[in-house]
């Protein structure tokens, strides 16, 4: 393909996605530090108690949440073993099949089964950042649209790498010509910051696009592995009064003894079947803590039904999360994530500037110059002209 063709691809793939990518880079910046920001904003902590204080029964914890919000049902309970070891987070909704966005949070002390807080989950700066970043307040279509923009970003990056060569074959690596025109200066910054962030931005872009497919991946898993595991229950009436939570969690722990429970999805929710609690178990290494393993427990008997490793497409989704969030290597990795994110913002901004300030020379080369063998010279001419300025 000619340089001109690559140039066209780079221009249009970038122009279409740039506004959205700027939005994603800007809203993503605070989201990298979500945990730290929440901590500073003062999330509720469990009061200190003697070490080794036993936890209350899960049934009591569930009861406490239900008493706090009569009329609501519990959809999920989850734990952050490392950050908040003594807290059970309960996510409730007006009905088990209410929209997925509905999330009435109740925070319970796991040892005393006392409700500690009912934080608002759908307001505030971080909530707005998260919504803008994931679906722009446009639900699933918004999310999938951003995923498509992520794929255009990949096209822009690949074409940008191809164009890096004709633009820099006369320049040493890292050349920053700051003394010439503003355009040359920004061209050099665009090329430098673009080429050093290639791998990182490709990974964050592709994993971001994969993350937008989470609902689809979930439905696929429901129809595939979940349907297989729950085949004997097909046709039975759904469980409306799930019981035996404590017994069920013990059954899940016994089935997967080397992992800890990170989330339980109640019967009838997106992450479970109409007849089961699904316990999502996590390991204790960076990878196994992401590759959750489901254990299905019959919600009427508290007995294990099945526990299997997730299929490859769910594992891909799970591994895409840390690689997109940058939350798997401590604060230094988050800081580097932020720096690279800022580099990406400069690449996007300078790209728009270079398009707006396109020199006349760049449009000339459509007329072939005799004696120049390849037709690719548009950029070389542009480049040489700029060097000569």
């Amino acid at each position: 393909m000619s340089t001109q063709a690559w140039s066209w691809i780079h221009k249009w793939s970038s122009l279409v996605c740039t506004v959205f990518m700027l939005l994603l880079c800007l809203t993503g910046l605070p989201l990298i530090f979500q945990e730290e920001i929440e901590h500073l904003a003062g999330v509720v902590e469990a009061p200190p108690m003697p070490a080794g204080t036993p936890n209350a029964s899960m049934d009591r914890i569930a009861q406490a949440a239900l008493e706090r919000r009569p009329g609501d049902v519990i959809r999920y309970m989850f734990w952050e073993q490392n950050e908040h070891p003594d807290i059970t987070y309960v996510s409730m909704a007006s009905a088990v099949d209410a929209p997925p966005e509905e999330n009435n949070a109740v925070i319970v002390d796991s040892r005393t089964a006392k409700v500690l807080d009912e934080p608002a989950t759908n307001e505030g700066f971080m909530y707005v950042m998260l919504k803008l970043h994931t679906d722009m307040f446009a639900g699933l279509p918004g999310m999938l649209f951003l995923g498509a923009m992520g794929l255009l970003l990949v096209v822009a990056i690949v074409s940008g790498v191809v164009l890096y060569y004709p633009f820099t074959r006369r320049l040493k690596f890292g050349a920053l010509r700051t003394q010439r025109s503003t355009r040359v200066k920004w061209l050099d910054w665009h090329n430098l910051l673009g080429i050093v962030t290639v791998v990182w931005l490709l990974v964050v872009g592709i994993t971001g696009s994969i993350n937008t497919l989470n609902r689809i991946v979930l439905s696929l898993w429901q129809m595939d592995q979940m349907a297989e595991m729950t085949a004997p229950y097909r046709g039975l009436p759904p469980v409306t009064q799930p019981a035996h939570l404590e017994e069920s969690i013990r059954a899940a722990r016994a089935a997967v003894p080397d992992m800890t429970v990170s989330l339980v999805a109640f019967p009838g929710t997106m992450f479970s079947s109409p007849h089961h609690y699904t316990f999502f178990m996590k390991g204790n290494t960076p990878v196994t803590s992401r590759l959750l393993k489901p254990a299905l427990v019959d919600a009427t008997t508290g007995k294990l039904t099945d526990s299997r490793d997730m299929p490859w497409y769910v594992k891909t989704l799970f591994l895409s999360q840390p690689l997109h969030f940058g939350d798997y290597g401590g604060l230094p990795l988050k800081l580097l994530w932020a720096v690279l994110d800022i580099f990406a913002i400069v690449v996007l901004g300078s790209g728009v500037y270079l398009w707006l300030r396109k020199p006349k020379a760049a449009t000339v080369p459509k007329t072939r110059v005799d004696g120049v063998p390849e037709p690719a010279n548009a950029l070389r001419h542009t480049n040489t002209d700029e060097v000569a300025q």
């Binding site: 890096y164 060569y165 820099t168 074959r169 006369r170 320049l171 040493k172 690596f173 890292g174 050349a175 920053l176 010509r177 700051t178 003394q179 010439r180 430098l192 910051l193 080429i195 050093v196 962030t197 290639v198 791998v199 990182w200 990974v203 290494t285 960076p286 990878v287 591994l319 840390p322 690689l323 798997y328 290597g329 401590g330 230094p332 990795l333 580097l336 720096v339 690279l340 580099f343 060097v387 300025q389």
Partner: protein, 69 residues
């Protein structure tokens, strides 16, 4: 622009793709090592990840310090 500046950023010959992409490829390898290593474990693996992902950032700092003029 003076001659010194010109030599400072320009090469004396038309470079091959191998020459142009040598440094970017090493930075890409470092980025990949950094992205993967923190997934493999904590402690030393995290440290390796920080150092490796620092490479592209360091390259930018180096280029900025050596900028023309």
């Amino acid at each position: 622009m003076n001659r010194y500046e010109s030599r400072h950023v320009r090469t004396d010959h038309l470079q091959s793709p191998g020459e142009v992409f040598r440094v970017p490829i090493w930075l890409g390898v470092a980025s990949t090592v950094g992205l993967v290593s923190a997934l493999l474990g904590d402690g030393v693996w995290d440290g390796l990840s920080w150092v490796a992902i620092l490479a592209p950032v360091a390259a930018v700092v180096w280029a900025w310090r050596g900028r023309e003029g």
